[in-house]
Symmetry: C4
């Protein structure tokens, strides 16, 4: 890339990333859309949003966590009932050994916490009654949180977008374009879909490596409705930071393409958002996407083939010089 | 339609539909607003959003589903209690036959799952107590999901829009316009209502049929408040893709008008959205809507007559040539 | 109002009201913001949104409704248990008369529906157990709806705006302005507050009365934050539909000022909206608002006096002719 | 500050604050973002939003409040059961003294309210059964509100922004700028972050002090994504109300900088907002922020050090005269 061109382009520093973040080549955004970042300097409980963590957590971990939490609270109340005296739990006369008595206390606790309250074991006396009364309150309140979270996880607005694993440098009109493809992979319907694409390059400047960010203008930055697939196209014209970019530059500058999609989902009745990021080894230099949909045999509807999201064939790119201004004699392979 | 005109018009490809989707004439959008589309290539459980499906499902199916689900979970736990030994359920001494014992296990399960826990049947022993303890937890958590869904279905933001079943080509000022009418049919009040109308035509191009999309500019694309009915009007002037359109063209090009309405609803305090689509056989060429509201007998309020949403009378359309430029001698019937 | 002026002004028909709605002078928008409108032509259950109705309903009616609903469902199940045979409810041996038995069935039903399930009365036998099992499911599901609604009503985003009961024609700079005042009356904080004001006039046109709508441009249509009060100001300059308006015109044309406020509320984290409408008898011609806040005695904070929202004093209006163009000799009182 | 300059600048009155609010120098916005304001003139229950108050309340107060509320309702029903006659509560025969009987009534009430319903104490008779039936309904409905609130507090969309405690007047390009720094301190990710900064000054005008508001244009008023920290920069150029501002003016005019941040949070899927305000004693005149992030030892990710949010070093400011127009000979220290 010629030094003149680099001067001409305006990089932006309104990305929320600093100019020298992760200088040694670690990616900025992970492919799941989270920032490749850790925070420090304040205690972990202050810098952790319990709510965010519980929404993000893997489903199996979440279920296991609930089970352990339930056992834990039951254990605590079981110990309290046990110390208060199992004799205040009517119906536990058959329990003679310590372990039998503790078991009765534990299961009474669980029946109280879930408000199932069979009653074959029941509290008697001021103290035990009070504890049971508090436990049933605690049960209602904590299960409110837990069930709220379960439903919150289940109904959390998500875009369900499938991105092509590759980003292509493809022929486009008389020149080239950077292209990537996306589709919703579930039975959701997005409208007012907006895309925002930023290119990050790690460049040498005054002897040290700095990260520069360039917004990539798109052919269409917004579509009304996303029914089939959408190929996001950044035309590589003279105003593009990629105009003089050769194949080697992709790897040399450790390019990263950050994609953010925002849309409205009908059934969530909410805005949904999804981010992803492509690192230099996901670039395919000289390729074009092949169609990923076909008509149904009976012609009545269209079939979208999600396994073809990345389907592309290698093609020869037009010379960069051929497009826009004839006087340019620089040759890009 | 003259070939010159067709060249002049810019079709758009930012609709999220590809240019050759459903070539054989199947509609693009169903009248309920869903895309006429199927997805393939990844397993069904990955391409199905359980949440979206449960929100969309018919009410009666949903209720039936809950009932079957409830019976199913009860059966599973009943089998477990039965295998563990009904003797560990106190109060079931009267049940002697296998079927009686299974019945006791089944209803104990249901009393535990719903946390009603009468207690005339109660668990005893480590194993049965543990199972009951887990079942009451399972009950709380699954009913959280189910009840969340019921309320989610009940309170889901919807626009409650009634569209006229016909789209009219009507006289408008000195020329013509494409018109359709809508009103909210429930006691909801929409504000900041935006309409977006797209015309799809299946045209012959280089010997094969391609689908082209044209945005239709509206007289008013946004209204402040939707109290009575709203007639959406696309004036067919020289810039309209319908300017040279004759009656036959509607059917020949298998026209489809896709309408998307977005608004803010006061009581949901949320954005609501509704889509519909008109196919060529819903066009009425040469007609105008008649009023669908009248004043109350005592004059104090207005009455909106929803059964008149499609009320129109056939009228003669002005010749296309008469409007805008006199030189045009083409005659449109 | 001179006929020339009237021609010059462009009325709008994108209000969602038709041109001849409620011709006989009934108001268009009620002061609580709902449209003065009834719908007809489809059955009441189709044109009623249960959800909207339940959210709008008066609190006391809502509570009463829940209580009646609860009693009704209990009665239904009580009848079923009674018909099935009270003998299948253990623990009801003491009930000998029909009314005692029905009472036992009724209260057993209520204990099952709420899942309190004391168990001193408990079901026995396949049939009664099945009914109880279904009732507890019904209980969980209906209470989910009811409690969802209660919380939905309680947490429903609302703007809590207090509008001045009067709209003033007040002196403003060298001319006049239409002014109204609003403030939040609760401890909520609104940001990005937008106002939209429309004037409706019932005018004589070709011998019949039609309703015309004029948007009123505001001095500030949006403020960043609503902490104290906000006086909404429409300057009555040459472009205003009120420029030539005399005091009599307010009543003669049955003026109605429709105000719509949209804002973002911090704690609801949602957009809130409130509408109101002023009819001609709420106009005060020649008056200005007096301040409604003062500093605290110790000077550390500001006091907003909500009972002064309508506080104004009568003043002489400047002659309409004095402002903007000297040539105008028309005299407005 | 020269009087000419002051004339040239346009202060705004669309802030929602009046021109003479809190004249004696109390701040306008508290540092937690709430307005420094009290409302009066209507009864407290009408000017208090219970919902807002319960969401804002400190966690410990909220929990204590629930506990007291629970005890209070239990007491009321206990009194009712007691007055109705404890003899109608079966299973309380062992309670002979008044206090024992009241205790039985109290705990029966708590078991009914939480629907735990052990059943060792159970209602008998029409009256007591009816009361218990109502109490269990009351329990379900009030706990619905309480648990809704708990989850509402837990999941309430918040921006989790940490602001630098100081606002700096720092060197910027060839001149000066007002700078403050912010970062999210939790594991949340904000996108489409917008900042809005307003300067309030208490100025002498015609012998009395008035508060004037100036919007401060920002270098970037919106960033796509907030991953690391964001330094908000208002360049102090000729159009800035701070252009002629000397160090003394900050204190003399009791400057206050009001900052409002609005953004979209991925996991809440909602807009979040946070406000803060800087008073004159939080200004540092002549300082610049030092970086608050560094690369990880292994170079794979970036570390954001939240304890360095306010880290700055004192620097000499360039003379105001040096920038923009040479003719200005006024010297600002």
């Amino acid at each position: 890339m010629s030094i003149q061109n680099r001067q001409r382009l305006r990089d932006i520093d309104n990305t929320g990333f600093g100019p020298n973040s992760s200088v040694e080549g670690g990616r900025l955004i992970n492919s799941d859309g989270s920032a490749n970042l850790r925070k420090r300097g304040i205690p972990i409980w202050e810098r952790t949003s319990v709510y965010h963590s519980l929404l993000r957590m893997k489903g199996s971990h979440f279920i296991l966590g609930i089970f352990l939490f339930y056992t834990f609270i039951n254990l605590i109340f079981a110990v309290i009932y046990f110390l208060t005296g199992v004799s205040h739990l009517t119906g536990t006369d058959g329990a003679h050994t310590t372990s039998e008595q503790f078991m009765e206390a534990f299961f009474f606790s669980s029946q109280t916490l879930t408000t199932v309250g069979y009653g074959h074991v029941a509290p008697s006396g001021m103290m035990t009654n009070s504890i049971a009364s508090i436990e049933s309150l605690v049960g209602i309140l904590t299960f409110a949180l837990v069930t709220g979270l379960i439903y919150g996880r289940f109904s959390r607005p998500r875009a369900y977008l499938l991105f092509s694993p590759s980003v292509l440098i493809a022929p486009f009109k008389e020149g080239r374009a950077l292209m990537l493809r996306m589709a919703t992979y579930k039975n959701n319907h997005l409208t007012d879909v907006e895309a925002n694409v930023t290119l990050a390059m790690h460049e040498e400047e005054n002897g040290k490596t700095v990260t520069k960010f360039y917004p990539l203008p798109l052919q269409f930055a917004k579509i009304n409705s996303l029914a089939l697939s959408w190929t996001i196209v950044h035309a590589i014209d003279e105003d593009s930071p990629l105009y003089h970019c050769r194949k080697e530059d992709v790897t040399d500058t450790k390019m990263e393409v950050i994609v953010n999609i925002k849309a409205f989902d009908d059934h969530f009745s909410n805005i949904v958002q999804q981010r992803t990021s492509y690192t230099h080894n996901q670039f395919v230099y000289g390729a074009k996407f092949l169609p990923m949909f076909e008509k149904a045999p009976d012609g009545d509807y269209t079939i979208l083939e999600l396994d073809k999201i990345n389907l592309h064939e290698l093609v020869k790119l037009p010379d960069a010089k051929t497009h826009h201004h004839k006087g340019n004699v620089e040759v890009n392979p």
